[in-house]
Amino acid sequence: MRQTLATFAVEEVRVLAPDGTLLPDPPECVHDRDLLVRLYRAMVLTRTFDARAIALQRTGRLGTYASSLGQEAVPVGTAAAMRPEDVLLPAFREQGALLWRGVPPEHPLLYWGGDERGSNWPGPREDFPICVPVGTHAPHAAGVAMAFRLERAPRVAVCVFGDGATSKGDVYEALNFAGVWRLPMVAVINDNRWAISVPLSLQTAAETLAQKAIAAGIRGLRVDGNDVIAVYAAVREAVERARAGGGPTLVECVTYRLCDHTTADDSRRYRDDAEVSEHWKLEPVARLRRHLLERGFWTREDEEALLEECRHTVEEAVERYLATPPDRPTAMFHHLYAELPAALRPQYEELRAREEA
């Protein structure tokens, strides 16, 4: 005897068509002109920031850097969907989210420039630092969400990671645990179809990444990740549901990495230019601009002013970054423990003597 015990569906949320026109049944927020403009501005700022960071790297003034070109809708839409008191746990490609959340732009520059102080930003103080080991921050997000649950705090932990990260066991374990505890946690996948040179087809046989949620018994859905309104609307709904006690959601945002993996990568080694060109037609900034122009929410003059403003904002941050001298070497001891254990004092003194010499 064979009987069906349970059925599952993966749904996709889209708002804007690639040409910027509205698809049927748009969410309420499309009427919020102010929001749409803010989303657009944030994506442009992110793109400006990325371009400048790459230029700094190319001229030897920044370390390895991971641009978010073409994927700006994911971090921006995600951060915009959060409340200030929520906690963000980013991977390493979410500068767009950091900036939206109020991290001064010189901080990510400092971090990628090789200075720990880049993670000690003035605000949001409770957000987590950039996480380099892929997927390892998913358990942290579960921990933060569990803290909120235990405190009965109406706050949500939002964690972002890539398509590659969905192959990590710790990500699965964190989602599974979030399910058991119905944690106020939202996990957002920047599904940019590549993990360095590994295409999604070698990452998993699952047709969608949203369906990874089914294994954890939690909600999962897919959104058009080149559509910042869709990302915003879907993550917003997930975050508010989580806040209301409705449990965790996994949101797969399908986008595309138009840039190299990092400045240390040369993506022409492993993927066709044609594929990249195709995806330029879908990218989120032009799409939303078209939409805004169409609806009269935006003008050519606004655009020029914005570009100028973004350049200015970024340039000021770059100047602050470049003007920041390195920390004192002994800082490596100062923040290792709350108080330096006596056993480490001789090493500390040795370094201090070198530092002072």
Partner: protein, 326 residues
């Protein structure tokens, strides 16, 4: 004052810490109703409820990261790994995050997490239940490694570990979980996290050890005494950071050093102690150092385990070797 076993002292310290600080949580496999497979958390679930004593899924890679998230938000999680043999999926979190959060954020966030695990052999346990890999943890920056060797020290050191603002790996020698009792007062008094304990003073040989081996060390010292050899027994107790001063002071006096640990010899923590003495107390030494340790093999299953773990005769032989050296 109650006479407690080591595992009972662990339990008393956990209860005390949970009582005095509502932010202290206990998490792990089977720590709830079952009270832990060694009963270290027995009664806590009933007393503090399911939101403070939490049975996690069977996901070791998750625990430490979950603990970090909770700790960064001001909780004081005490995460139990059922056996040290199953702690390895969590090493990634310990190396890459737990020991780094404070430093990475220059103090903006921190990680007052305690990782507990029973370790060591000698209880005729199945495969993977007898290893001691404390040395691997002692190499990781930003954490502390603590190993008690008696009920009293378990109580005081665990309290200190839980109250400490930084992460502590707390390894419990399961062979002596119930091997003997000691009077332990539930007075909330903690012990220092960077001080070795001189358990027996002596003139001729310094014997440094930790955990369950303290038992063999004291017995060997006693037997040596009968042969006219005076052995100073040091329980290192806090392996990272460790108290080199006490060891160096003792070697300065005795001139002879024997190290005793269960773990495999190569790159075991004994090597670190010896190295330190060779750097800072070399000319105190009047005889070559001897390490009495497990072999550099996989720990055998129970039928052969007695051949693997250092026993009193091996320790005594080492003591006699350093004393009779010339």
């Amino acid at each position: 004052m109650p006479e407690l076993t080591l595992v009972e002292a662990v339990r008393m310290a956990l209860a005390r810490a949970m009582e005095e600080d509502p932010k202290v949580l206990v998490l792990g496999e089977d720590v709830g109703k079952n009270g832990g497979v060694f009963r270290a958390t027995e009664g806590l679930y009933e007393r503090f409820g399911p939101e403070r004593v939490i049975d996690t899924p069977l996901s070791e890679a998750l625990f430490a990261g979950l603990g970090l998230g909770l700790a960064a938000r001001g909780f004081r999680p005490v995460v139990e790994f059922q056996f040290m043999g199953f702690i390895y999926p969590a090493i990634d979190q310990v190396v890459n995050h737990v020991g780094r959060l404070r430093n990475r954020t220059r103090g903006r966030l921190s990680c007052p997490l305690v990782i507990r695990a029973p370790f060591g052999g000698g209880i005729r346990a199945p495969e993977h239940h007898s290893e001691s890999t404390e040395a691997m943890f002692c190499h990781i920056p930003g954490i502390r490694v603590v190993i008690p060797s008696s009920p009293r020290r378990a109580y005081g050191l665990l309290l200190a570990a839980i109250r400490d603002p930084d992460p502590v790996v707390f390894l419990e020698p399961k062979r002596i979980y119930r091997a003997f009792r000691e009077q332990v007062e539930d007075d909330g008094a903690q012990l220092p996290l960077d001080r070795a304990f001189v358990l027996r003073e002596g003139r001729d040989v310094t014997l440094v050890t930790w955990g369950a081996c303290v038992k063999e060390a004291l017995e060997a010292a006693e037997q040596a005494q009968e042969r006219g050899i005076s052995v100073e027994v040091i329980d290192l107790a806090t392996l990272k950071p460790y108290d080199a001063e006490t060891v160096l002071g003792s070697v300065a006096k005795t001139g002879r050093l024997v190290i005793l640990h269960e773990a495999a010899r190569t790159a075991g923590f004994g090597a670190e102690i010896v190295a330190r003495v060779a750097e800072e107390g070399l000319f105190s030494l009047t005889a070559p150092v001897v390490r009495v340790t497990g072999y550099d093999t996989v720990v055998p299953l129970p039928r052969l385990e007695d051949w693997y773990f250092p026993d009193v005769p091996r320790v005594l032989a080492a003591i006699e070797q350093v004393v009779s050296w010339r």
